[in-house]
Amino acid sequence: MIIMKKVYKKYPNGVVASNGINIEIKRGEFVFVVGPSGAGKSTFIKMMYREEVPTSGDIIIDDINLATLRNSQVPYLRRKVGVVFQDFKLLPKLNVYENIAFALEVIEESPEQIRKKVNDVLGLVGLTHKSRMFPNELSGGEQQRVSIARSIVNTPKVVIADEPTGNLDPAISWEIMEMLERINARGTTIVMATHNKEIVNTMKHRVIAIEGGLITRDEVGGGYGYES
Protein backbone atom coordinates (compact mmCIF):
# COMPACT_ATOMS: atom_id res chain seq x y z
CA MET A 1 0.00 0.00 0.00
CA ILE A 2 2.67 2.49 1.08
CA ILE A 3 6.30 1.88 0.20
CA MET A 4 9.21 4.23 0.88
CA LYS A 5 12.58 3.40 -0.64
CA LYS A 6 15.76 5.27 0.34
CA VAL A 7 13.79 8.46 0.87
CA TYR A 8 16.07 11.39 1.40
CA LYS A 9 14.86 14.90 2.03
CA LYS A 10 17.07 17.91 2.49
CA TYR A 11 15.51 21.37 2.90
CA PRO A 12 17.08 24.45 1.25
CA ASN A 13 18.34 25.56 4.68
CA GLY A 14 20.43 22.39 4.90
CA VAL A 15 18.26 20.48 7.38
CA VAL A 16 18.04 16.78 6.53
CA ALA A 17 14.57 15.64 7.59
CA SER A 18 14.69 12.22 6.01
CA ASN A 19 17.98 10.40 5.75
CA GLY A 20 17.29 7.37 3.59
CA ILE A 21 14.04 6.01 5.05
CA ASN A 22 12.84 2.55 3.92
CA ILE A 23 9.42 1.38 5.02
CA GLU A 24 6.45 -0.66 3.89
CA ILE A 25 2.94 -0.25 5.25
CA LYS A 26 0.37 -2.85 4.24
CA ARG A 27 -3.24 -2.26 3.29
CA GLY A 28 -5.50 -2.01 6.35
CA GLU A 29 -2.67 -1.37 8.82
CA PHE A 30 -2.90 1.18 11.64
CA VAL A 31 0.49 2.77 12.19
CA PHE A 32 1.63 5.31 14.77
CA VAL A 33 4.54 7.54 13.86
CA VAL A 34 6.34 8.79 16.95
CA GLY A 35 9.50 10.68 17.79
CA PRO A 36 10.70 13.86 19.43
CA SER A 37 9.95 17.27 17.94
CA GLY A 38 12.14 18.05 14.94
CA ALA A 39 12.88 14.36 14.35
CA GLY A 40 11.35 14.37 10.85
CA LYS A 41 7.82 13.08 11.62
CA SER A 42 6.08 15.96 9.92
CA THR A 43 8.18 15.65 6.79
CA PHE A 44 7.50 11.91 6.76
CA ILE A 45 3.77 12.60 6.92
CA LYS A 46 3.81 15.51 4.47
CA MET A 47 5.68 13.47 1.88
CA MET A 48 2.84 10.94 1.93
CA TYR A 49 0.31 13.44 0.58
CA ARG A 50 2.98 15.19 -1.45
CA GLU A 51 2.97 18.43 0.42
CA GLU A 52 6.73 17.84 0.38
CA VAL A 53 8.67 16.14 -2.39
CA PRO A 54 11.65 13.92 -1.51
CA THR A 55 15.08 15.07 -2.70
CA SER A 56 15.74 11.48 -3.77
CA GLY A 57 14.20 8.04 -3.36
CA ASP A 58 10.74 6.67 -4.11
CA ILE A 59 7.42 6.91 -2.30
CA ILE A 60 4.76 4.64 -3.71
CA ILE A 61 1.16 4.84 -2.59
CA ASP A 62 -1.35 2.56 -4.26
CA ASP A 63 1.03 2.08 -7.21
CA ILE A 64 1.59 5.82 -7.70
CA ASN A 65 5.19 7.00 -7.34
CA LEU A 66 4.96 10.35 -5.57
CA ALA A 67 8.58 11.22 -6.31
CA THR A 68 7.95 11.33 -10.03
CA LEU A 69 4.31 12.44 -9.92
CA ARG A 70 3.61 15.48 -12.05
CA ASN A 71 2.19 18.49 -10.21
CA SER A 72 -0.95 18.32 -12.31
CA GLN A 73 -1.58 14.80 -11.01
CA VAL A 74 -1.26 15.67 -7.32
CA PRO A 75 -5.00 16.43 -6.91
CA TYR A 76 -5.84 12.89 -8.05
CA LEU A 77 -3.44 11.43 -5.47
CA ARG A 78 -5.04 13.50 -2.74
CA ARG A 79 -8.43 12.08 -3.55
CA LYS A 80 -7.06 8.67 -2.57
CA VAL A 81 -5.47 9.96 0.62
CA GLY A 82 -7.58 11.55 3.34
CA VAL A 83 -5.70 13.94 5.60
CA VAL A 84 -6.58 14.99 9.15
CA PHE A 85 -4.75 17.85 10.86
CA GLN A 86 -4.13 19.00 14.38
CA ASP A 87 -5.75 22.37 13.53
CA PHE A 88 -8.68 20.72 11.69
CA LYS A 89 -8.34 22.94 8.62
CA LEU A 90 -12.04 23.56 8.15
CA LEU A 91 -13.40 26.36 6.00
CA PRO A 92 -14.81 28.81 8.57
CA LYS A 93 -17.49 30.21 6.28
CA LEU A 94 -18.93 26.85 5.33
CA ASN A 95 -21.17 24.89 7.67
CA VAL A 96 -20.47 21.29 8.72
CA TYR A 97 -22.39 19.79 5.83
CA GLU A 98 -20.76 22.09 3.27
CA ASN A 99 -17.27 21.46 4.64
CA ILE A 100 -17.70 17.74 4.09
CA ALA A 101 -19.56 18.06 0.80
CA PHE A 102 -16.73 20.21 -0.47
CA ALA A 103 -14.41 17.20 -0.74
CA LEU A 104 -16.97 15.54 -3.01
CA GLU A 105 -17.72 18.62 -5.11
CA VAL A 106 -14.04 18.73 -5.92
CA ILE A 107 -14.24 15.30 -7.53
CA GLU A 108 -17.40 16.33 -9.37
CA GLU A 109 -19.67 13.87 -7.60
CA SER A 110 -23.39 14.14 -8.46
CA PRO A 111 -25.61 16.11 -6.03
CA GLU A 112 -27.53 12.94 -5.09
CA GLN A 113 -24.33 11.08 -4.29
CA ILE A 114 -23.03 14.06 -2.33
CA ARG A 115 -26.20 14.18 -0.23
CA LYS A 116 -26.11 10.46 0.42
CA LYS A 117 -22.43 10.20 1.24
CA VAL A 118 -22.31 13.30 3.43
CA ASN A 119 -25.34 12.15 5.40
CA ASP A 120 -23.80 8.68 5.83
CA VAL A 121 -20.53 10.04 7.07
CA LEU A 122 -22.26 12.58 9.33
CA GLY A 123 -24.01 9.63 10.94
CA LEU A 124 -20.72 7.79 11.31
CA VAL A 125 -19.10 10.69 13.20
CA GLY A 126 -22.31 11.45 15.11
CA LEU A 127 -22.85 14.98 13.87
CA THR A 128 -26.07 14.67 11.89
CA HIS A 129 -27.82 17.06 14.26
CA LYS A 130 -25.11 19.69 13.86
CA SER A 131 -24.84 19.64 10.08
CA ARG A 132 -25.99 23.26 9.69
CA MET A 133 -23.63 24.67 12.30
CA PHE A 134 -20.45 26.53 11.48
CA PRO A 135 -16.98 25.50 12.71
CA ASN A 136 -16.79 28.33 15.27
CA GLU A 137 -19.99 27.04 16.86
CA LEU A 138 -18.45 23.61 17.50
CA SER A 139 -16.11 22.29 20.19
CA GLY A 140 -12.58 21.21 19.25
CA GLY A 141 -13.58 17.55 19.34
CA GLU A 142 -16.56 18.18 17.09
CA GLN A 143 -14.43 20.14 14.64
CA GLN A 144 -11.99 17.24 14.49
CA ARG A 145 -14.87 14.87 13.82
CA VAL A 146 -15.90 17.07 10.89
CA SER A 147 -12.33 17.01 9.66
CA ILE A 148 -12.27 13.21 9.89
CA ALA A 149 -15.64 12.98 8.16
CA ARG A 150 -14.29 15.10 5.32
CA SER A 151 -11.17 12.95 5.05
CA ILE A 152 -13.15 9.72 4.65
CA VAL A 153 -16.22 10.86 2.74
CA ASN A 154 -14.84 9.80 -0.62
CA THR A 155 -13.66 6.50 0.85
CA PRO A 156 -9.91 6.97 0.46
CA LYS A 157 -7.62 3.98 0.82
CA VAL A 158 -5.38 5.78 3.28
CA VAL A 159 -6.05 8.32 6.02
CA ILE A 160 -3.05 10.30 7.19
CA ALA A 161 -3.50 12.03 10.51
CA ASP A 162 -0.98 14.58 11.72
CA GLU A 163 -1.38 14.93 15.50
CA PRO A 164 -5.19 14.72 15.30
CA THR A 165 -5.54 14.79 19.09
CA GLY A 166 -2.89 17.46 19.65
CA ASN A 167 -5.41 20.19 20.46
CA LEU A 168 -7.93 18.05 22.31
CA ASP A 169 -8.39 17.06 25.94
CA PRO A 170 -7.89 13.36 26.86
CA ALA A 171 -11.55 12.30 26.90
CA ILE A 172 -12.22 13.84 23.50
CA SER A 173 -8.96 12.41 22.19
CA TRP A 174 -10.21 8.94 22.96
CA GLU A 175 -13.44 9.61 21.10
CA ILE A 176 -11.40 10.59 18.08
CA MET A 177 -9.24 7.48 18.39
CA GLU A 178 -12.31 5.25 18.59
CA MET A 179 -13.53 6.88 15.41
CA LEU A 180 -10.23 6.26 13.63
CA GLU A 181 -10.28 2.70 14.89
CA ARG A 182 -13.74 2.20 13.35
CA ILE A 183 -12.53 3.64 10.06
CA ASN A 184 -9.52 1.31 10.16
CA ALA A 185 -11.82 -1.62 10.84
CA ARG A 186 -13.53 -0.91 7.50
CA GLY A 187 -10.20 -1.59 5.76
CA THR A 188 -8.76 1.92 5.50
CA THR A 189 -5.03 2.19 6.17
CA ILE A 190 -4.27 4.75 8.87
CA VAL A 191 -0.95 6.48 9.45
CA MET A 192 -0.99 8.77 12.46
CA ALA A 193 1.76 10.96 13.83
CA THR A 194 1.32 11.58 17.54
CA HIS A 195 2.93 12.71 20.76
CA ASN A 196 0.25 11.04 22.86
CA LYS A 197 2.01 8.37 24.91
CA GLU A 198 -1.16 6.99 26.48
CA ILE A 199 -2.88 6.42 23.17
CA VAL A 200 0.11 4.67 21.60
CA ASN A 201 0.73 2.50 24.64
CA THR A 202 -2.92 1.53 24.99
CA MET A 203 -3.87 0.84 21.39
CA LYS A 204 -0.99 -1.53 20.66
CA HIS A 205 -0.64 -0.87 16.95
CA ARG A 206 2.48 -0.84 14.84
CA VAL A 207 4.81 1.96 15.96
CA ILE A 208 7.40 3.63 13.73
CA ALA A 209 9.85 5.83 15.66
CA ILE A 210 11.75 8.51 13.76
CA GLU A 211 14.82 10.32 15.06
CA GLY A 212 17.23 12.46 13.08
CA GLY A 213 15.46 11.59 9.84
CA LEU A 214 15.92 7.85 10.34
CA ILE A 215 13.65 5.06 11.49
CA THR A 216 15.05 3.97 14.83
CA ARG A 217 12.32 1.52 15.75
CA ASP A 218 9.54 -0.29 13.89
CA GLU A 219 7.56 -2.72 16.03
CA VAL A 220 4.10 -4.17 15.85
CA GLY A 221 2.21 -3.66 19.10
CA GLY A 222 5.01 -1.44 20.38
CA GLY A 223 4.84 1.36 22.94
CA TYR A 224 5.49 5.08 22.72
CA GLY A 225 9.08 4.73 23.97
CA TYR A 226 9.66 8.35 24.95
CA GLU A 227 8.93 10.42 28.02
CA SER A 228 6.07 12.69 27.07
Partner: protein
Amino acid sequence: MAMKARTFRRHLRESFKSLDRNRWMTLASVSAVTVTLLLVGVFIVLMMNLNKVADDIEKDVEIKVLIDLAADESAVSVLEQKIIETNGVESIQFISNAEELEKMIKGYGDELGLYKQDNPLRHVFYVKASNPQQTATIAKEIGLYDDAYKVIYGEGKIEKLFKVLNTGRNVGLVLIVALFFTAMFLISNTIRITIVARGREIEIMKLVGATRNFVRIPFLFEGMWLGILGAILPMLIMTITYFNLYEFLEPKLEGEFLQLLSVTPFIYQLNGLLLFMGLFIGVWGSFISVQKFIKA
Protein backbone atom coordinates in the same frame (compact mmCIF):
# COMPACT_ATOMS: atom_id res chain seq x y z
CA MET B 1 -10.65 17.48 -19.64
CA ALA B 2 -13.86 19.30 -20.37
CA MET B 3 -15.65 20.72 -17.40
CA LYS B 4 -19.04 19.29 -16.58
CA ALA B 5 -21.96 21.71 -16.90
CA ARG B 6 -22.77 20.92 -13.28
CA THR B 7 -19.30 21.94 -12.19
CA PHE B 8 -19.52 25.12 -14.24
CA ARG B 9 -22.78 25.97 -12.50
CA ARG B 10 -21.19 25.16 -9.18
CA HIS B 11 -18.33 27.57 -9.87
CA LEU B 12 -20.79 30.30 -10.84
CA ARG B 13 -22.87 29.66 -7.72
CA GLU B 14 -19.77 29.58 -5.53
CA SER B 15 -18.55 32.88 -6.94
CA PHE B 16 -21.82 34.56 -5.95
CA LYS B 17 -21.83 32.93 -2.52
CA SER B 18 -18.28 33.99 -2.01
CA LEU B 19 -19.10 37.63 -2.76
CA ASP B 20 -21.72 37.41 -0.05
CA ARG B 21 -19.55 35.50 2.45
CA ASN B 22 -16.73 38.00 2.09
CA ARG B 23 -18.96 41.05 2.13
CA TRP B 24 -16.43 43.56 3.41
CA MET B 25 -13.79 42.43 1.00
CA THR B 26 -16.33 42.62 -1.81
CA LEU B 27 -17.23 46.15 -0.78
CA ALA B 28 -13.56 47.17 -0.63
CA SER B 29 -12.80 45.74 -4.06
CA VAL B 30 -15.92 47.13 -5.69
CA SER B 31 -15.21 50.57 -4.20
CA ALA B 32 -11.65 50.48 -5.50
CA VAL B 33 -12.88 49.56 -8.97
CA THR B 34 -15.60 52.23 -8.83
CA VAL B 35 -13.31 55.07 -7.79
CA THR B 36 -10.60 54.15 -10.26
CA LEU B 37 -12.92 53.66 -13.20
CA LEU B 38 -14.68 56.92 -12.40
CA LEU B 39 -11.33 58.67 -12.63
CA VAL B 40 -10.53 56.88 -15.86
CA GLY B 41 -13.98 57.80 -17.22
CA VAL B 42 -13.67 61.51 -16.38
CA PHE B 43 -10.23 61.59 -17.89
CA ILE B 44 -11.28 59.84 -21.06
CA VAL B 45 -14.19 62.28 -21.50
CA LEU B 46 -11.81 65.22 -21.14
CA MET B 47 -9.16 63.78 -23.42
CA MET B 48 -11.54 62.62 -26.12
CA ASN B 49 -13.23 66.02 -26.23
CA LEU B 50 -9.91 67.84 -26.31
CA ASN B 51 -8.95 65.55 -29.13
CA LYS B 52 -12.18 66.39 -30.91
CA VAL B 53 -11.44 70.11 -30.55
CA ALA B 54 -7.93 69.52 -31.87
CA ASP B 55 -9.34 67.59 -34.84
CA ASP B 56 -11.85 70.36 -35.54
CA ILE B 57 -9.13 72.99 -35.44
CA GLU B 58 -7.01 70.91 -37.78
CA LYS B 59 -9.88 70.39 -40.17
CA ASP B 60 -10.33 74.14 -40.41
CA VAL B 61 -6.85 74.51 -41.79
CA GLU B 62 -6.95 75.09 -45.53
CA ILE B 63 -4.71 76.25 -48.31
CA LYS B 64 -5.71 79.33 -50.27
CA VAL B 65 -4.30 79.23 -53.78
CA LEU B 66 -4.38 82.62 -55.54
CA ILE B 67 -4.65 82.13 -59.30
CA ASP B 68 -2.50 84.12 -61.67
CA LEU B 69 -4.42 87.00 -63.27
CA ALA B 70 -3.15 85.95 -66.66
CA ALA B 71 -4.59 82.46 -66.40
CA ASP B 72 -7.51 81.88 -68.74
CA GLU B 73 -10.33 79.41 -68.15
CA SER B 74 -8.48 76.42 -69.56
CA ALA B 75 -5.34 77.25 -67.57
CA VAL B 76 -7.48 77.37 -64.41
CA SER B 77 -8.87 73.93 -65.29
CA VAL B 78 -5.39 72.58 -65.80
CA LEU B 79 -4.30 73.97 -62.44
CA GLU B 80 -7.40 72.52 -60.79
CA GLN B 81 -6.68 69.11 -62.25
CA LYS B 82 -3.07 69.26 -61.11
CA ILE B 83 -4.11 70.20 -57.57
CA ILE B 84 -6.68 67.38 -57.47
CA GLU B 85 -4.00 64.95 -58.53
CA THR B 86 -1.58 66.18 -55.87
CA ASN B 87 -0.89 63.55 -53.25
CA GLY B 88 -2.87 64.06 -50.05
CA VAL B 89 -5.45 66.53 -51.38
CA GLU B 90 -8.89 65.80 -50.03
CA SER B 91 -11.03 68.55 -51.53
CA ILE B 92 -10.80 71.61 -53.69
CA GLN B 93 -13.21 74.46 -54.11
CA PHE B 94 -13.09 77.19 -56.72
CA ILE B 95 -14.19 80.67 -55.66
CA SER B 96 -14.27 83.42 -58.24
CA ASN B 97 -12.93 86.87 -57.42
CA ALA B 98 -16.52 88.18 -57.46
CA GLU B 99 -17.52 85.70 -54.79
CA GLU B 100 -14.42 86.55 -52.82
CA LEU B 101 -15.37 90.18 -52.89
CA GLU B 102 -18.90 89.38 -51.75
CA LYS B 103 -17.43 87.55 -48.79
CA MET B 104 -15.27 90.52 -47.94
CA ILE B 105 -18.17 92.94 -48.23
CA LYS B 106 -20.15 90.73 -45.86
CA GLY B 107 -17.26 90.70 -43.44
CA TYR B 108 -15.98 94.25 -43.61
CA GLY B 109 -18.87 96.36 -44.79
CA ASP B 110 -20.48 97.93 -47.81
CA GLU B 111 -17.65 100.38 -48.39
CA LEU B 112 -15.85 97.64 -50.19
CA GLY B 113 -18.69 97.62 -52.72
CA LEU B 114 -16.73 100.31 -54.55
CA TYR B 115 -14.39 97.63 -55.79
CA LYS B 116 -17.14 95.89 -57.69
CA GLN B 117 -16.32 98.06 -60.71
CA ASP B 118 -12.72 97.06 -60.78
CA ASN B 119 -12.23 93.95 -58.70
CA PRO B 120 -8.62 93.75 -57.53
CA LEU B 121 -9.04 90.25 -56.16
CA ARG B 122 -7.98 87.04 -57.82
CA HIS B 123 -9.84 83.81 -58.37
CA VAL B 124 -8.87 81.30 -55.71
CA PHE B 125 -8.88 77.62 -54.92
CA TYR B 126 -9.47 76.51 -51.35
CA VAL B 127 -7.71 73.22 -50.85
CA LYS B 128 -7.99 70.85 -47.89
CA ALA B 129 -5.53 68.11 -47.12
CA SER B 130 -6.83 64.67 -46.18
CA ASN B 131 -4.27 64.71 -43.38
CA PRO B 132 -4.17 68.31 -42.10
CA GLN B 133 -0.66 67.79 -40.82
CA GLN B 134 0.50 67.58 -44.46
CA THR B 135 -0.87 71.01 -45.27
CA ALA B 136 2.52 72.71 -45.48
CA THR B 137 4.02 70.08 -47.79
CA ILE B 138 1.02 70.16 -50.10
CA ALA B 139 0.97 73.98 -50.11
CA LYS B 140 4.63 74.12 -51.06
CA GLU B 141 4.07 71.67 -53.90
CA ILE B 142 1.08 73.61 -55.24
CA GLY B 143 3.13 76.81 -55.04
CA LEU B 144 5.38 75.37 -57.73
CA TYR B 145 2.60 74.85 -60.27
CA ASP B 146 2.13 77.19 -63.22
CA ASP B 147 -0.56 79.80 -62.69
CA ALA B 148 -0.52 79.38 -58.91
CA TYR B 149 0.34 82.98 -58.14
CA LYS B 150 0.61 82.59 -54.38
CA VAL B 151 -0.19 79.99 -51.79
CA ILE B 152 -1.41 81.09 -48.35
CA TYR B 153 -1.72 78.55 -45.55
CA GLY B 154 -0.58 80.32 -42.39
CA GLU B 155 3.02 79.39 -42.84
CA GLY B 156 4.83 79.29 -39.55
CA LYS B 157 1.58 79.48 -37.60
CA ILE B 158 0.08 76.12 -38.51
CA GLU B 159 3.35 74.33 -37.79
CA LYS B 160 3.19 75.77 -34.27
CA LEU B 161 -0.50 74.92 -33.98
CA PHE B 162 0.09 71.32 -35.02
CA LYS B 163 2.98 71.06 -32.61
CA VAL B 164 0.78 72.25 -29.73
CA LEU B 165 -2.06 69.93 -30.74
CA ASN B 166 0.27 66.95 -31.12
CA THR B 167 1.92 67.60 -27.79
CA GLY B 168 -1.53 67.86 -26.22
CA ARG B 169 -2.59 64.56 -27.77
CA ASN B 170 0.59 62.77 -26.75
CA VAL B 171 0.42 64.04 -23.18
CA GLY B 172 -3.21 62.93 -23.05
CA LEU B 173 -2.35 59.50 -24.40
CA VAL B 174 0.48 59.06 -21.92
CA LEU B 175 -1.79 60.13 -19.08
CA ILE B 176 -4.54 57.73 -20.16
CA VAL B 177 -2.09 54.83 -20.41
CA ALA B 178 -0.57 55.75 -17.05
CA LEU B 179 -4.02 55.97 -15.50
CA PHE B 180 -4.97 52.63 -17.03
CA PHE B 181 -1.95 50.95 -15.44
CA THR B 182 -2.58 52.69 -12.13
CA ALA B 183 -6.13 51.39 -12.31
CA MET B 184 -4.88 47.88 -13.06
CA PHE B 185 -2.45 48.06 -10.16
CA LEU B 186 -4.96 49.49 -7.69
CA ILE B 187 -7.75 47.11 -8.53
CA SER B 188 -5.66 43.98 -8.82
CA ASN B 189 -3.98 44.86 -5.53
CA THR B 190 -7.29 45.15 -3.75
CA ILE B 191 -8.44 41.88 -5.23
CA ARG B 192 -5.14 40.33 -4.23
CA ILE B 193 -5.70 41.37 -0.64
CA THR B 194 -9.11 39.72 -0.68
CA ILE B 195 -7.58 36.54 -2.04
CA VAL B 196 -4.58 36.60 0.30
CA ALA B 197 -7.07 36.67 3.14
CA ARG B 198 -8.42 33.45 1.71
CA GLY B 199 -5.11 31.66 1.29
CA ARG B 200 -6.23 29.07 3.81
CA GLU B 201 -9.33 28.35 1.75
CA ILE B 202 -7.15 27.68 -1.28
CA GLU B 203 -4.79 25.52 0.79
CA ILE B 204 -7.71 23.38 1.99
CA MET B 205 -9.15 23.13 -1.51
CA LYS B 206 -5.83 21.75 -2.69
CA LEU B 207 -5.57 19.35 0.24
CA VAL B 208 -8.87 17.68 -0.55
CA GLY B 209 -7.81 17.15 -4.14
CA ALA B 210 -9.10 20.16 -6.05
CA THR B 211 -7.42 20.60 -9.41
CA ARG B 212 -5.86 23.95 -10.23
CA ASN B 213 -8.76 24.91 -12.43
CA PHE B 214 -11.26 23.91 -9.80
CA VAL B 215 -9.54 26.27 -7.36
CA ARG B 216 -8.99 29.00 -9.90
CA ILE B 217 -12.28 29.29 -11.78
CA PRO B 218 -14.55 30.46 -8.92
CA PHE B 219 -11.99 33.16 -8.12
CA LEU B 220 -11.90 34.27 -11.75
CA PHE B 221 -15.69 34.51 -11.79
CA GLU B 222 -15.53 36.41 -8.55
CA GLY B 223 -12.99 38.82 -10.01
CA MET B 224 -15.25 39.27 -13.00
CA TRP B 225 -18.27 40.13 -10.80
CA LEU B 226 -16.16 42.54 -8.74
CA GLY B 227 -15.05 44.26 -11.94
CA ILE B 228 -18.56 44.42 -13.38
CA LEU B 229 -20.14 45.59 -10.12
CA GLY B 230 -17.43 48.21 -9.77
CA ALA B 231 -18.03 49.45 -13.31
CA ILE B 232 -21.78 49.94 -12.96
CA LEU B 233 -21.67 53.13 -10.89
CA PRO B 234 -18.99 54.86 -13.02
CA MET B 235 -21.00 53.95 -16.14
CA LEU B 236 -24.18 55.43 -14.70
CA ILE B 237 -22.48 58.54 -13.38
CA MET B 238 -20.61 59.17 -16.62
CA THR B 239 -23.75 58.66 -18.72
CA ILE B 240 -25.92 60.98 -16.65
CA THR B 241 -23.22 63.62 -16.23
CA TYR B 242 -22.16 63.63 -19.87
CA PHE B 243 -25.73 63.72 -21.10
CA ASN B 244 -26.54 66.73 -18.91
CA LEU B 245 -23.26 68.44 -19.66
CA TYR B 246 -23.90 68.03 -23.37
CA GLU B 247 -27.46 69.33 -23.07
CA PHE B 248 -26.20 72.30 -21.08
CA LEU B 249 -23.16 73.22 -23.14
CA GLU B 250 -24.19 72.38 -26.66
CA PRO B 251 -26.63 75.34 -27.16
CA LYS B 252 -24.00 77.67 -25.73
CA LEU B 253 -21.38 76.40 -28.14
CA GLU B 254 -23.65 76.60 -31.16
CA GLY B 255 -21.87 78.28 -34.04
CA GLU B 256 -18.52 78.17 -32.28
CA PHE B 257 -15.78 76.01 -33.66
CA LEU B 258 -15.71 74.26 -30.26
CA GLN B 259 -18.06 71.28 -30.17
CA LEU B 260 -18.42 68.35 -27.79
CA LEU B 261 -18.56 64.77 -28.97
CA SER B 262 -22.22 63.86 -29.40
CA VAL B 263 -23.68 61.72 -26.64
CA THR B 264 -24.16 58.77 -28.95
CA PRO B 265 -22.16 56.78 -29.85
CA PHE B 266 -19.51 58.26 -27.54
CA ILE B 267 -21.20 57.35 -24.28
CA TYR B 268 -21.79 53.77 -25.48
CA GLN B 269 -18.14 53.48 -26.41
CA LEU B 270 -17.07 54.92 -23.07
CA ASN B 271 -19.37 52.60 -21.13
CA GLY B 272 -18.17 49.65 -23.15
CA LEU B 273 -14.59 50.55 -22.38
CA LEU B 274 -15.27 51.02 -18.65
CA LEU B 275 -17.12 47.71 -18.47
CA PHE B 276 -14.36 45.94 -20.34
CA MET B 277 -11.69 47.49 -18.12
CA GLY B 278 -13.52 46.50 -14.95
CA LEU B 279 -14.08 42.99 -16.23
CA PHE B 280 -10.57 42.53 -17.58
CA ILE B 281 -8.81 43.97 -14.55
CA GLY B 282 -11.06 41.98 -12.21
CA VAL B 283 -10.33 38.69 -13.92
CA TRP B 284 -6.66 39.48 -14.41
CA GLY B 285 -6.21 40.64 -10.80
CA SER B 286 -7.84 37.45 -9.57
CA PHE B 287 -5.80 35.31 -11.87
CA ILE B 288 -2.39 36.57 -10.83
CA SER B 289 -3.36 36.55 -7.15
CA VAL B 290 -4.78 33.06 -7.09
CA GLN B 291 -1.90 31.80 -9.19
CA LYS B 292 0.55 32.55 -6.39
CA PHE B 293 -1.36 30.35 -3.99
CA ILE B 294 -1.89 27.58 -6.46
CA LYS B 295 1.82 27.34 -7.07
CA ALA B 296 2.74 27.59 -3.40
